[in-house]
Point group: C2
Chain length 199, copies 2
């Protein structure tokens, strides 16, 4: 049985849940609370020396980390990864965009507003994330004005990856109503198997 | 002919050069200077709305961006990508680690020290990058103490990706002598085709 170690409020962890649900792959979810130090225990650090969720233990005991690499592992050989070489690279391009130009702004602003014990004390940091977050949303809007999904005509794990924090971007203070192509795409993603909102 | 748009002092751009050299793939290098606004022109933004180097124009005119996705595209079907499914996901795991937990610290500290017109004015930002950079190096040291290359027994584009900014980490103020496994790995990487130091 695949064991997932994740935090339910984390978009990065939600990606793992979505891909496993989409593929109807049985798994055991182990809820991890980083605030209680549960990502810094010796057993957790043995899975991920970087001390971050999600981490996955495969059947033979191998650990795999980094949400987008985990999605890739499970999705290989399925329609969630394009069979065309350029579309496959395009999918990875958007997954790297997600980790470098989207998550550090939108996910961080959301985490501080939603989970910090005193969000008001974090106002300056939150404000510093808004321009970068809107920039990422503008770039997504441009792509979605020309293509139904990020890798091209078909849904892929690039869409799952970008959905994870975009569908809760308003919790980070971002106004999605400015982005009609993103809003239409969110609805298309939610029509795919396994693609549920975070609870 | 493949056209690469890059800046020679950038590790992200150097990755593209390394993979093309390793594969003996002919290409045309177009030097781009972001400080002269060359990543914000209409023609550059048509290739990459994110306004970042590197960007690649393929033979049929398709643009591809994000250094690690570009490496993946060219390396597919070669020994630079492991044929084993878990090793392939492991390779991607380390490439996502590179973009999220390594580049934002080590590359940024280096860029400010090496390329900023007044590095002394950036001392506080540089200092704020040191702990994260050393943390990334410690995690790499741990992996390399157990495995010759990041994906496993064989050299892959994960090594190229991490080599790009690690071999110049001292320009960012990081002391690599603390990391003997990294130093031995740098030499192993430099013994691979195409893997030259940045000039």
């Amino acid at each position: 049985m695949i064991r997932v170690y994740g935090m339910s409020g984390s978009g990065n962890c939600h990606k793992v849940r979505m891909v496993l649900e989409a593929l109807r792959q049985p798994y055991e979810w182990n809820e991890i609370n980083p605030k209680k130090g549960e990502t810094k225990t010796a057993s957790f650090l043995a899975m991920n020396p970087n001390g971050q969720v999600p981490a996955v233990l495969l059947d033979d005991g191998d650990a795999l980390v980094e949400s987008n690499a985990i999605m890739f592992y499970f999705a290989e050989g399925t329609t969630l990864i394009p069979s065309d070489r350029l579309a496959r690279a395009r999918m990875l391009q958007w997954l790297f965009f997600e980790q470098y130009s989207h998550e550090p702004y939108i996910a961080v602003a959301r985490a501080l507003r939603k989970f910090h014990p005193d969000p008001a004390s974090q106002q300056a940091v939150i404000e510093s994330k808004m321009a970068g977050g809107y920039r990422a949303l503008e770039i997504m809007e441009g792509r979605l004005a020309e293509s139904p999904f990020f890798a091209g005509e078909r849904f892929s794990i690039a869409d799952m990856g970008l959905y994870a924090y975009t569908h809760v971007a308003e919790e980070g203070g971002f106004d999605l109503e400015r982005f009609p192509a993103i809003e239409a795409w969110l609805a298309r993603v939610e029509a795919q198997p396994g693609c549920t909102r975070m609870t």
